[in-house]
């Protein structure tokens, strides 16, 4: 089962390898991991997605929490949460396909951020499945390169429905 862990930590020397080591040390792989400065200067928030047995992930979460540099760990899997990923997708294009690619881009509320004679680079934001769907639709034109951030996620506070653009 997929788990999304949100970890707030002090990004001091060796903190990230120690976190990663807790997964590899149990034979687990990290599907995606993203880091960035958190709400306070000096604090970093990591969003880690991984697949695995509930009990082992719980064990990893406890071990993460034990690390001296880690301040907070939440397994978002059991909470309502919002999640986004950003992908940059470079597809082959020619005058004959360009219009069609732009249509697909519109449907996914994505943006074209770079253009050349032979390529278009598209920025898509959304949940992982939306990004996957966009990539799936663009495949027919020939994908040259993809860069994805991996999930970033936060616990949802508002329990109602928000009109969302994705």
């Amino acid at each position: 089962m997929k788990h999304t862990l949100s970890v707030l930590f002090q990004n001091r020397f060796n903190a990230i390898p120690r976190m990663a080591g807790l997964f590899s040390g149990r034979g687990y792989s990290i599907d995606s991991i993203s880091f960035g400065q958190g709400e306070e200067p000096g604090l970093t928030r990591a969003t880690i997605t991984t697949q695995g047995d509930k009990q082992i992930i719980e064990q990893i979460a406890k071990q993460l929490h034990k690390l001296v540099d880690v301040i907070k760990v939440i397994d978002l899997t059991y909470e309502p949460y919002v999640e986004r990923e950003l992908a940059l997708i470079k597809v082959s294009s020619s005058p004959s396909t360009r219009a069609e690619i732009m249509q697909v881009t519109d449907i996914f509320r994505a943006k074209i951020i770079d253009i050349s004679a032979k390529t278009l680079t598209i920025e898509v934001t959304g949940k992982e499945d939306k990004v996957n769907a966009a990539i799936g639709m663009l495949e027919q034109f020939g994908i040259r390169e993809i860069a994805r951030t991996g999930s970033v996620a936060l616990k949802r506070e508002y329990q109602g429905v928000i009109q969302s653009s994705s």
């Binding site: 930590f9 002090q10 020397f13 060796n14 390898p17 120690r18 080591g21 040390g25 064990q59 406890k62 071990q63 929490h65 034990k66 690390l67 001296v68 540099d69 880690v70 301040i71």
Partner: protein
């Protein structure tokens, strides 16, 4: 000089503050931390620190003969004193030689602080001479580690390291010291406050959980306490005794828990697990409430997990939340320190009406005692252990190696006091015994220290005899020479058709007496059972050097009971 410096700055005088080198700051921080003994081995990367040691009589540096020995000695020192053990080694090979000892301390939650030299900062990552990425190598086996990048951070890091090593669940902390940091100068200010945001272990048990646990215990019919090394490292043996006696609850301990509860108490069941007593393993199988304290349900304790203590509801007290419910589901988890939590619990329990249960246990003890066949022809290893207990009146510190010698020590000594058994539990490190015994003796110079070892393990760190001779450490080594890697041979005999593949030592063993004498120690070879006690008594008279008693023991003696690997605890093989 330093106090002058401080008073000057207080008065706000304009004189230059005294600048110290990184090496000097390091040593000053160690002194401020209360360190008086360091186990180590010098080299190019730390030569500057050794120069400061040379003019710092407050710190006694013990020069070992191999860096592994330094880490085990620091570990032994920590286990007997309760203070952190300190290790200093050079970069590269010096650092990598500490790996086994660090891992050993990590597995058994022993507080040691290991300082490793490192190549100068600008050369790190260049495959410089004697460079090893020791931070990377030890990442999974340290509680925490630091690479010092700025001499201004050095003192703070040292104090943080000691704090982290000794609080919460104790463990090894490593500090890697690039050579340039040790040469750089800055003014030294004593650090009096630490602020480690992500680190605040829970000491007091959650009141509601404690109440629930007390209710569960008060309603138990067949209660059992299973106590581990956490009771000893948490200095909670007295608190455990009060709990057990007030509730009238029998107690079994792990290997590392031996000494946490006096084995002469009628409530004691001795050790449980793979080579535990028959009655302890039956009691944990049959109990209806199991109270685990500072123990981690290791596979050597539980046997086959699916059948482990199936009839019991479980309460688990541990300072490390990640230890709770890791292998075995627990009904009432309590995160807390044994010393604070046990009195909370004791206050809420009453004396249980469990006469029938205690009678059952007494019956088991009568029917399945620990036993061995005496002989007047050949020395039985169990007999040697019993006699060590007798001649030392069970007041000695016993340090074991790993293998059969270790299990016989655990079974037949009858431990009464905490911190009197030192053994490599989690890692099972052959070669632990001698250096750990030296560290223990240096930590407790007024106590008699026995090292019970095997002919295999003794040779793994035998070079430390030189350390014992040099520092006049009067360790008493009881070498149980069975001519085999006995524990492995036992498995081969029982499960591999007695094919003794690579376990025969007797055709290659050295003349141990000559070896010991060559080092400057005293060697006594004992062949006849009637000479065992005289040799032990003789050894007690020797106060200024190591003595090795080589007991030529029955070569094919086995450790029983035994739970075969993968079997259930109640499926014990007996003699």
């Amino acid at each position: 000089m330093k106090s002058e410096n401080r008073s000057q700055s207080k008065q706000g005088k304009k004189s230059e503050p005294v600048e110290l080198t990184g090496s000097e700051i390091l040593v000053q921080a160690l002194i401020d931390e209360g360190v008086d003994t360091i186990f180590g081995y010098p080299g190019g990367a730390v030569i500057g620190i050794y120069d400061v040691f040379y003019r710092t009589p407050k710190i006694k540096h013990i020069l070992v003969r191999h860096e592994q020995g330094a880490t085990h000695a620091a570990d032994g020192y920590a286990r007997v004193t309760g203070k952190p053990g300190v290790v200093m080694v050079t970069s590269g090979p010096g650092a990598t030689n500490t790996v086994t000892g660090i891992s050993n301390a990590h597995m058994d939650s022993i507080p040691i602080v290991v300082f490793t030299g490192q190549v100068p900062s600008p050369m790190i990552g260049n495959d410089a001479f004697q460079e090893a990425d020791i931070i990377g190598i030890t990442r999974p086996i340290t509680k925490h580690s630091y690479l010092v990048k700025d001499v201004n951070q050095l003192a703070r890091i040292v104090h943080e390291a000691f704090h982290i090593a000794t609080t919460g669940r104790p463990g090894p902390v490593l500090i890697d010291l690039p050579k340039d940091i040790l040469v750089n100068k800055t003014s030294y200010k004593k650090i009096t406050q630490l602020d480690i945001r992500g680190y605040s272990p829970t000491y007091k048990g959650h009141a509601q959980q404690i109440t629930k646990a007390a209710n569960m215990i008060n309603n138990a019919i067949r209660p059992l306490i299973y106590a581990g090394g956490g009771v000893i490292s948490g200095n909670a043996a007295e608190e455990l005794r009060e709990l057990a006696i007030k509730g009238n609850i029998p107690v079994t301990t792990t290997l590392l828990g031996l000494g946490a509860f006096p084995e002469d108490s009628p409530l004691s069941l001795g050790m449980l697990g793979m080579h535990g007593t028959w009655y302890a393993n039956m009691a944990i199988t049959e109990c209806d409430v199991l109270l685990a304290i500072g123990a981690r349900f290791d596979d050597r304790i539980t046997g086959k997990l699916e059948t482990f203590s199936k009839k019991s509801k479980k309460i688990h007290i541990d300072i490390d939340p990640s230890c709770i419910a890791k292998n075995v589901p627990v009904n009432i988890p309590i995160v807390g320190h044994a010393k604070e939590t046990l009195p909370q619990l004791t206050a809420r329990i009453h004396k249980l009406e469990n006469k029938e249960w205690l009678e059952t246990i007494a019956q088991w003890k009568k029917e399945h005692p620990l036993k061995y066949k005496m002989s007047d022809q050949v020395i039985l290893p169990q007999y040697v252990v019993e006699k060590i207990a007798e001649v030392s009146k069970r007041k000695a510190i016993v340090v074991t190696d790993v293998g059969q010698n270790q299990m016989w020590s655990a079974q037949f000594y009858g431990f009464r006091h905490p911190r009197t058994l030192l053994s490599s539990g989690g890692l099972g490190t052959m070669g632990y015994g001698l250096p750990a015994a030296i560290g223990a003796s240096i930590g407790k110079p007024d106590q008699i220290v026995f090292c019970i070892t095997g002919d295999g393990g003794f040779q793994m760190n035998i070079q430390e005899l030189a350390t014992a001779v040099k520092y006049k450490v009067p360790v008493k080594v009881a070498l149980l020479n069975n001519g085999y890697l006995g524990m492995v041979r036992q498995w081969q005999e029982l499960f591999f058709g007695a094919r003794y593949s690579a376990t025969v030592l007797k055709d290659g063993n050295p003349d141990f007496i000559k070896v010991v004498e060559g080092f400057g120690g005293i060697g006594i070879r004992v062949v006849d059972p009637k000479d065992v006690v005289p040799a032990l008594k003789e050894s007690l008279k020797i106060k200024d050097k190591p003595v090795v008693m080589e007991f030529m023991v029955a070569p094919e003696e086995k450790v029983f009971p035994m739970v075969p690997a993968g079997a259930s605890l109640f499926e014990m093989l007996e003699e």
